[in-house]
Amino acid sequence: MNWIKYPLLPIALFGTFGGLVLAASCETEHGRCVDNFVCVDTKFTNCSGEKFVCSDVKGCEY
């Protein structure tokens, strides 16, 4: 078995840290959270699809 993409939403973390914020990271065509930064919210979307806000601007890579 080879990993191509690790889970962006590791179920294993759910509960350990109390849920969403620490459990999620994101990656989209528009940008992604990198390193240990995590996704905290949507910003406004248009018909191109979801876009995300990182927990810290430094963690956002476009």
């Binding site: 993409k5 294993a12 476009y62």
Partner: protein, 505 residues
């Protein structure tokens, strides 16, 4: 393993048999976690990964070589505890994100005017520019939210054409930057612009105002684009100027999301556009093309309906297009991510603010006053506004039966909410629609591309490049502290000259 801890197969696994390089393998994607693996077919069949809900026998877990595989598959969400309800998990995540976010995320429209007249635009363009009292109220509201504990601020500049009011963008951005320092919260911004009014001075100013990304549209090679996206004042061509400005933005390290609005009339010409982008070496820069799905969703663009693709047609064409992007060496790709966040239109505290202070939940409605959900200058809420707001905030994709059963629900969440809410204005025409991934051809193509990237070693290279960029960023930030903000006055003058020329002609 006790009975309580028995494992079952996720309902969100997607399996693509590889039929070329590695004959005995498949790639497996899980739509809940968005993990992707290459797995020997022996495991795919013996663990019954194609059978949602299937419980694993104790016997197979004791077989040689299975322990580690099962652990990893569980980590990736392909297998899970038999009592774990994936749908409830999604609902929890979705509600947390939707109703309890501490991030402020606003779309600000400094003007509804536009210097373009695009044939498919869904907006009307009344002569409306943000007034000082709206600006002040907006700043006051954001400050109140920050004082009550909001943890970050993101602004999308939108319009109309936001660069027609660069002075407003600058004034407000400076206030937001000051808040970012005062409250020690991250602030960043993006801008949806047609790109025509950009130049080096403007770009440098926008950079200083924390704008990290432009969304700019090119609709095909020059002859096609120029027919679809003309200057409002005189119908003049816009392609060359926009292309030049994308190049400038890219040189100044502002990311460009390059939207290509596709329908039946231009899709066949997009190879020619890709060749042009390739000549500019945009594939080596931070320019990310993607295909926009043109839909005739409002009265302003309803007459375009006969030229729009069906969902399935668009999925097929988009699958071809992303393969071409990959072949041309563009680094962006729309690999799905968990989208339990839902659209901003149905998320608490997310608004688009029009120049007169009207609040809207969806971009498509910003020029339709009957669709507003409030006004920031109002002291008392109006019942019509509250009725509008409730229809968005009570939208519930978990009540849509076909969605609950759908195996891509975690990356789609019922598609565009606008299709499921009632629009009292009668001016919105959204059909209930699924995400492009619903069509296997697109999801399979995406899985193939990501697998090709993996085989080519792209992910390792990306990791290395990312580390290098982060080091450079730290150096650049130190240097930029020494730069003055003298660009501002010059840039404002440039825009005024150019926009008044275009609008008043």
């Amino acid at each position: 393993m006790s009975e309580r801890n028995r494992l079952k197969v996720s309902k969100y696994n997607h399996i693509l048999k590889l039929n070329c390089t590695r004959i005995n393998s498949s790639i497996v994607f899980n739509a809940l976690t968005c993990a992707l693996i290459e797995l020997n077919d022996i495991y795919v069949s013996s663990l019954h990964l194609t059978k949602p809900g299937n419980k694993l026998s104790k016997k197979i877990l004791n077989e040689k070589g299975y322990k580690d595989i099962v652990e990893q598959l569980t980590y990736g969400g392909f297998l899970l505890n038999q009592n774990f309800d994936e749908l409830s998990f999604l609902r929890y995540l979705s509600n947390s994100s939707r109703y309890s976010s501490k991030a402020i995320s606003l779309t600000i429209l400094p003007t509804l005017r536009c210097n373009f007249k695009c044939i498919y635009c869904y907006e009307d363009h009344p002569n409306q520019t943000m007034t000082p009292d709206v600006e002040e109220k907006l700043v006051e509201i954001i400050q109140k939210r920050l004082e009550s504990g909001s943890s970050s601020l993101f602004i999308e500049w939108y319009g109309g054409e936001p660069l027609l009011c660069l002075d407003i963008v600058e004034r407000l951005s400076k206030r937001f930057i000051a808040f970012s320092k005062k409250y020690n919260i991250p602030f960043s911004a993006g801008m949806v612009t047609n790109g025509y009014l950009l130049n080096r001075k403007v770009i440098n100013l926008l950079k200083e105002l924390n704008i990290k990304r432009f969304q700019i549209t090119l609709d095909g090679p020059p002859n096609v684009h120029n027919e679809r996206r003309k200057l409002y004042s005189n119908g003049r061509k816009t392609f060359d100027k926009i292309l030049e400005n994308i190049s400038l933005a890219s040189e100044e390290s502002i990311a460009v999301v390059l939207r290509i609005n596709a329908d039946k009339t231009n899709f066949n010409t997009l190879d020619e556009l890709l060749n042009i982008l390739n000549d500019y070496k945009f594939n080596e820069k931070n320019v990310s093309p993607y295909l926009g799905f043109v839909k005739a969703t409002t009265t302003a663009c309803r007459d375009r309906i006969e030229y729009c693709f069906s969902e399935e047609e668009f999925a097929m064409n988009n699958a071809d297009f992303i393969r071409k992007l990959f072949d041309y060496g563009f680094k962006n790709y729309s690999f799905p991510s968990p989208s339990y966040h839902l659209c901003g239109a149905v998320t608490d505290g997310v608004y688009a603010i029009s120049p007169n202070g009207d609040l809207f939940k969806c971009w498509e409605t910003v020029s339709i006053p009957e669709e507003r959900v409030g006004n920031i200058l109002d002291n008392k809420p109006r019942s019509e506004d509250q009725i509008n707001l409730l229809k968005w905030m009570t939208y519930d994709p978990f009540k849509i039966n076909k969605c609950k059963k759908c195996n891509i629900f975690p990356i789609c969440f019922g598609g565009c909410p606008s299709a499921s809410v009632k629009h009292i204005s009668g001016k919105i025409f959204r059909d209930v629609s699924c995400n492009t991934y619903k069509h296997n051809i697109y999801l399979n193509k995406m899985m193939e591309i990501v697998y090709s990237k993996y085989l080519r070693g792209d992910f390792k290279k990306e990791e290395e490049a990312k580390k290098e960029r982060l080091s450079k960023d730290i150096l650049n930030k130190e240097e930029s502290k020494d730069k003055s903000t003298a660009n501002s006055d010059n840039a404002q003058e440039d825009i005024k000259d150019k926009s008044s020329q275009d609008l008043e002609n």
